[in-house]
Amino acid sequence: MLKVENLVVHYGVIPALKGISLEVKEKEIVCLIGANGAGKTTTLNTISGLKKPTSGGIYFQDKLLNNLPAHEIVKLGISQVPEGRGVFPNLSVVENLHLGAYLRKDKSAIEQDLKWVYEIFPRLEERKNQLAGTLSGGEQQMLAIGRALMARPKLMLMDEPSMGLAPIVVEEIFRIIKFLNKEQGTTILLIEQNAQMALAVSHRGYVIETGEIVVSGTAQELKANDEIKKAYLGL
């Protein structure tokens, strides 16, 4: 579904990605794990069109994305749950959710999807008229995921959904990620520093270090890899 080939991205003259390749197949959860500054967010933002690549190709359903503006990429069916949640604190919960469906015109289907999101996250319905900035971190993460779902994406990109959340909330979020993939068939590319959690829900994974993919394989293989155990799983 998504193919990234030899992607090179620079910030000024500094290379952030030095030619990474990865693939996400339909109905898969694929994780990209790595430390701070390894290039995880850069990868996602380049796929989303916020950052322009220096060279290489990003293909989504065989269509080249490289030079499309970000809003065209959303239209093709790629939604991102951004780093640090990226909810709009100055807007209400329901306004945030509606923005997720910004490009959709099917009003009645949007209202149905809103109900469906409220079913997955009942907390959001209780707080629908509250400003998003007044929600707790976990609730904001739920809102960010719900908002991405409102676009009915074919592929969801998630940037560190566990960041800054209490362990119990992290578990809840990952339970939902698994549920979305299993029950709804949502394809997900997940970025995480929390390798343990990420590998527990993913089918396959890639490990990125200073802009290069160093290991890849199925989640089982990665969990059994000694280097990864030492560097990322703390075992």
């Binding site: 933002n45 959303v74 709009f88 923005l99």
Partner: protein, 290 residues
Amino acid sequence: MFTQQIINGLTMGSIYALIALGYTMVYGILRIVNFAHGDIFMMGTFFGLLLTQKFRFPFPLALILAAIFTALLGMLVERVAYRALRLSDRLVLLISALGVSIFLSNFAQLVWGTETHPFPSGLSVKSFQVGTVTLSNIQVYILILSCLLMIALHVFVHKTKMGVAMRATSHSINNARLMGINTDSIISMTFAVGSILAAVAGILVGIYYDAVYPTMGYTAGLKAFTAAVLGGIGNIPGAMLGGVVLGVVESLGAAYISSGYRDAFAFGIMIIVLIFRPSGLLGKKQQEKV
């Protein structure tokens, strides 16, 4: 006299508020002070003058057309002077804004001359007495029209899809793009809306004082910018409140203390407010959860 000065202050204050909204909306989205805004206001006034005087359009039609032309001018300024520089240092944008400002006021001097033009709107000025207060019909138009425009703006920003997209963009351009919002067109539209408000304000003030001149954008722009800062720059109700407060303080100061210090009162109130509330009357410190 007190009520009279309040009314006069409210009249000028609502003009300041209309102009201040353009400063504050652009600041809210791009975090730049559009120093060309005062000159856009001046150009809007000249457009209005041209349409009523040269082309003999009836006043309401001239007002609407002038607002449209000014909106296009505002969008052009954004396209030419700001868009390519959006990722550069704020200082570069500031210089570009000043450049546009100088260009526009000189352009107006070249085309329309440096003298002050009267503004024959076709509206006959009538004054009437309410108790001890003298009101002119122009003042009433200014108050009513600016109230209507501010209500319309409020509805637009809070109840329409585009308005919500605008508020989202003002919080984070990148996150707005991730929603599928074409932020370039939202920014363009923000300039258009601000310019429309400025054009209406300019034409109203042109009629009120019966004077239009190429440097009129300078003082009015500076006062309106002060009003925006006073209310909390980036905050829409703040700009409205700031404009009205500025107008009233200025008018009371001029009446009771000395009219020579009119501008000193305007800028003085800003300094006092900023000492005690650095983010302005309605400006809030944004809190973010990590």
